[in-house]
Amino acid sequence: MQGGSSGIGYGLKYQARCISDVKADRDHTSFLTGTLSLKEENEVHLLRLSSGGSELICEGLFSHPNEIWDLASCPFDQRIFSTVFSTGDSYGAAIWQIPEPYGKSNSSTLECVASLDAHVGKINCVLWCPSGKSDKLISMDEQNLVLWSLDCSKKTAEVLSKESAGMRHSLSGGAWNPHDVNSVAATSESSIQFWDLRTMKKVDSIERAHIRNVDYNIKREHILVTADDESGIHVWDLRKAKVPVQELPGHTHWTWAVRCNPEYEELILSVGTDSAVNLWFASASSEKKTSESSVVASPQRVNPLLNSYTDYEDSVYGLAWSSREPWIFASLSYDGRVVIESVKPFLPRR
């Protein structure tokens, strides 16, 4: 089953890095994606999977002033999303609203709800509070962590608190703990840092260099998945964070992003710069097995790699599970190709 072209494709005009699931859209499986072009006019595409699931329709095409380095959809309003963008020599982050009535494919302008302009350095990402209703936001640049309160009606964003991680730790990204809204994991050059948002203090850290991406397991508390440049994917149990509970080989080149399935707790997706998307099965039982019998490698150990989708032309950077249909994921390669795949044949039987 190597790279069967079962996926539904959609081509963006320019190169692109980020794609996000529109969580607030309860009626359709839709994704937001934005292009990354230094010189051209960048676009945000709102894509919707047709009801038959056989076609990917562009529901909206909006021009965006700068190239988009990060994009996240608001969990409670399907029309709102955040982007991190770059003009080449400076960075910015903003909250946007898709104009009403959207749905016409002719390019229309986005309405800027708020600009998160408390940063100077390179902004990495904007995180929405995973609880769904909260209007809290976090934006992260290389040194700082800023907590925002967003008021959509007044179209303002207020800095609630801001804390510097220090010059030495250059932050590169993060994830908001879905089990504890006061906890945020941030990846830095040499470690994963855990921040408590009430005190805005670093409470814990796992020493691990060059982590590129991190994701919490929505279904299982305390489980965190990280992706490294070189050494693949690690599954951590935060209660005993000294050593990873499980190691997955990752990709031939860098593992760029990793995402836990929102419904099936054992499924993990990863994308890498070897132009592939890998679907992993990280069962709780196999975690135990590997930790117990690390020396005597059991010959029957199941290959954790369920499938590798290799039908890509360039490095894959964007990855998102659909929260509405959790067996569907969208991937985005650098050449601007969105591919929707279904993992139905690999779902664990229960």
């Binding site: 230094l38 020599d89 440049d229 050593v243 080149h253 005597v296």
Partner: protein, 779 residues
């Protein structure tokens, strides 16, 4: 016949019924008993009604039947009459004979009374005579009896008075048995009168007895006496009510102490084993420690035999002792084999122990020593096999870590040494085990199957753990506490990288050479037998091991490449994180990260050259993949075009379009191919991965014109040396171009350097590096 028999039977039965009814006084009983089917038509029943029967007959039957019935009945009546007559006659006969008998008895009794009277008279006279004799002799007899009693008493007194003297005499002649018998005979009297009349006597005899007891005890303890004598002494002592148990305890303690002397101490064991071997060769060498030991054990077993006879109730204790000795032997053996022991030495000790066990088993067959020792021997042997394998693993890992990898060309040496260690080690093990198998001792013959099973399983486990150990050594798996310190001690990355390569190649060697050889060996001399011990099939599965090591070698090779690329990756990361690319200054020279990159590659090349074989030379000619050729040309075209009118966004869009189109039409260059165990493949893979990383780093940055030019310059410089080292030129070209493309895509203002300037800068760099090289050479 049957038809005839039936009426006969019926007839007999009727006869019997009739007779019984005749003799039974109460007709009602006979009625009940004889026939339940009483009815009117039954002629034999009492309630038979002739008229009715007649009526029935006439009604039922025709004339012929009636006539027949009549004839039959007449015959029956006649028969019955004769029978009755016979009976009467017989009875009469018997009556007459009875009368005769009575008559005879009467005549015999007549005249018997006179004889009886005579008899009575005679008996009376005899009685009176005997009374007379009795009375006349009575007095004399009384007297004699009295005299006799006195004499007996006197004799006893005499005996008691003589007792001390007699005892002394016995002591002198060592006739302790008699003495004890005498003393015990006198005991009751001495007990009763000892305090009064025979005081002196008693004291004297007691003294004598004490001497006897003492003598007996010494006799018992002295080893020079014969067992018989000692046993007798013990019996006598027991008769004298001396507490023998304490004696026994003492004796056995002594025996226990002797155990210590019999220990084969681990320190001496090797000496013992040597002497044992040598004494086998030359019988003159009697005084070897093995001989001494054998004698000691023989003495011990003799003593045990003696005690067993002396104290039949002490067997349990002796069993315990013997068992203790056996277990002690095996425990010591275990201690002994904790150190490195050759199979010959092991066998030597084992033989000694087995001899001991056999000796003791002769004495105490009930102690089940052979079972015990067989069990213990199994355990020990199993341990020995396991230890041998762990020693081998230790050897191999020692060989691997022995060398200082920083030295030049040392990897080759390490690989050779470790290869030799593996081969030699396994060969030695086989030799040793073959010795074990050839051993003819009973116990070994019994354990042969088991041993073969253990050896096979041992090999299986050994290779499995060796593989795990390799992975630990390589730092791939960071578990296993025992080796952790070992790795930390040498945790420098440089050592690791080379070592990983050695391990990878060693795994290949094991997979291809060692395991087949071992399979052969096992098939030759260690096959069979195991089927009973291991029902799950043979324990040694070469196919599985080959798979394991194949996987391990690939894993290790990949790991080697990973560690190498990681180092380069660090260099690259620094290179791209540090400067502000948007405000980059004009390129003056080739950046030094290129040097570091090439240096790392060179090191990889060096290491690889030492260890890995050269691959079949198949350089990808550029013409082979014309697709990539066209791509690059089209790319450079677009670059130039772009330079011409970069403001034209339409043009730029078409550039991207063109890139996509080019990608569509060209065959996808396989960047991530499978790594092979050749020098070229490893180097190529490393270069590919690094260039891919370079591309990714470039994509994350935004460049100004100068930044782009710097990248262009660096890549241009890299082109030549990389192509020299790498087998897959097309892929490298492709990747280098990709880096340039990525940089141009991320550049705000793409103006490539003019080729002359590019050339000049590269020449300058080359000259500089040459000079640098010369300097290093001269210095």
């Amino acid at each position: 016949m049957a038809t005839e028999a039936a009426p006969m039977d019926e007839k007999a039965k009727r006869m019997r019924d009739l007779l019984s009814s005749f003799y039974t006084p109460d007709p009602s009983i006979s009625n009940n008993a004889s026939s339940i089917s009483t009815s009117f038509d039954n002629i034999n029943s009492t309630s038979f009604d002739a008229d009715q029967y007649m009526d029935l007959m006439i009604k039922k039957s025709n004339l012929e039947v009636l006539l027949q019935r009549h004839v039959q009945m007449a015959a029956e009546i006649k028969n019955l009459d004769t029978d009755l007559q016979m009976l009467v006659y017989e009875n009469y006969n018997k009556f007459i004979s009875a009368t005769d008998t009575i008559k005879r008895m009467k005549s015999n009794i007549f005249g018997m009374e006179g004889n009886m009277d005579q008899l009575l008279q005679k008996i009376m006279s005899v009685q009176s005579r005997s009374d007379g004799v009795n009375t006349s002799l009575f007095e004399k007899r009384e007297h004699i009896e009295k005299l006799h009693r006195t004499r007996n008493l006197l004799r006893k007194v005499q005996f008691i008075y003589d007792l001390p003297a007699r005892l002394q005499k016995c002591i002198k002649s060592e006739a302790y048995g008699d003495a004890v018998r005498f003393y015990i005979g006198a005991m009751p009297i001495l007990k009763v009168y000892g305090d009064t009349s025979f005081q002196d006597c008693r004291r004297a005899s007691e003294e004598a007895i004490e001497i006897i007891i003492k003598n007996l005890q010494t006799k018992l303890f002295s080893d020079s006496e014969s067992i018989q004598a000692r046993a007798e002494a013990a019996v006598l002592l027991k008769q004298l009510n001396v507490p023998v148990d304490s004696l026994k305890a003492k004796l056995l303690e002594k025996l226990e102490q002797a155990l210590d002397g019999l220990q084969i101490k681990p320190e001496e064991a090797s000496k013992l084993a040597e002497y044992n071997d040598s004494s086998k060769d030359e019988e003159t060498n009697d005084q070897g420690p093995a001989k001494i030991h054998e004698d000691a054990v023989r003495g011990f077993s003799e003593a045990m035999r003696a005690y067993r006879e002396i104290f039949p109730d002490s067997e349990e204790r002796l069993f315990k002792l013997a068992r203790a000795l056996t277990t002690m032997h095996f425990e010591n053996m275990e201690l002994y084999i904790r150190k490195r022991v050759s199979a010959a030495q092991f066998l030597g000790i084992f033989r000694i122990i087995w001899e001991d066990v056999v000796l003791m088993d002769e004495v105490l067959p009930e102690a089940a020593l052979s079972d015990l020792s067989a069990e213990a021997a199994q355990v020990t042997l199993k341990q020995f096999v396991a230890r041998t394998f762990s020693h081998l693993q230790q050897d191999i890992s020692d060989t691997l870590l022995k060398f200082d990898i920083n030295q030049k060309e040392v990897l080759k040496v390490v690989l050779e040494a470790s290869r030799k260690a593996v081969l030699q080690g396994t060969a030695d093990i086989f030799q040793g085990f073959r010795q074990l198998l050839d051993e003819n001792t009973v116990i070994f013959v019994k354990m042969k199957d088991l041993l073969i099973g253990w050896i096979q399983k041992g090999f299986q486990d050994f290779f499995r753990s060796l593989e795990a150990h390799f992975l630990v050594l390589s730092g791939k798996t960071s578990s296993s506490n025992e080796t952790e310190g070992l790795i930390e001690g040498k945790s420098s990355d440089k050592i690791q990288a080379g070592l990983i390569l050695v391990l990878a190649q060693l795994s290949v060697f094991i997979e291809q050479k060692v395991i087949p050889r071992i399979t052969e060996e096992i098939a030759a001399s260690f096959s069979g037998g195991s089927s009973q011990a291991f029902e799950n099939g043979p324990a040694f599965i070469p196919g599985e091991l080959c798979r394991v090591f194949h996987a391990a070698s690939e894993k290790l090779l990949q790991h080697y490449i990973d560690t190498r690329t990681q180092k380069i990756s660090v260099v690259l990361r620094k290179r791209f994180k540090t400067p502000n690319w948007v405000k980059h200054k004009e390129p003056r020279e080739v950046h030094m990260f290129v040097d570091m990159f090439l240096q790392e590659l060179e090191e990889v090349g060096k290491e690889v050259k030492q260890i890995l074989p050269q691959g079949t030379f198949r350089k990808h000619k550029r013409t082979d993949s014309n697709g990539s050729n066209t791509t690059t040309s089209s790319r450079s075209n677009t670059l130039h075009n772009d330079k011409m009118n970069r403001s034209n966004s339409q043009r730029a869009r078409s550039q991207l379009f063109e890139t996509h189109l080019a990608k569509l039409f060209k065959q996808k260059v396989e960047i991530f191919t499978k790594v092979e165990f050749t020098q070229e493949s490893v180097v190529t893979t490393t270069v590919k991965l690094c260039l891919k990383s370079l591309q990714e780093y470039v994509r994350l940055q935004t460049f100004n014109r100068s930044g782009f030019q710097q990248i262009q310059l660096d890549i241009q410089y890299l082109k030549a040396p990389l192509k020299e080292t790498v087998e897959d030129e097309a892929a490298i070209d492709f990747l280098l171009d990709e880096v340039i493309v990525a940089a141009s895509e991320r550049c705000l203002d793409v103006i490539p350097l003019e080729p002359p300037i590019l050339d000049k800068l590269i020449q300058a760099k080359l000259a500089k590096s040459k000079e640098h090289n010369n300097n290093t050479v001269s210095s």
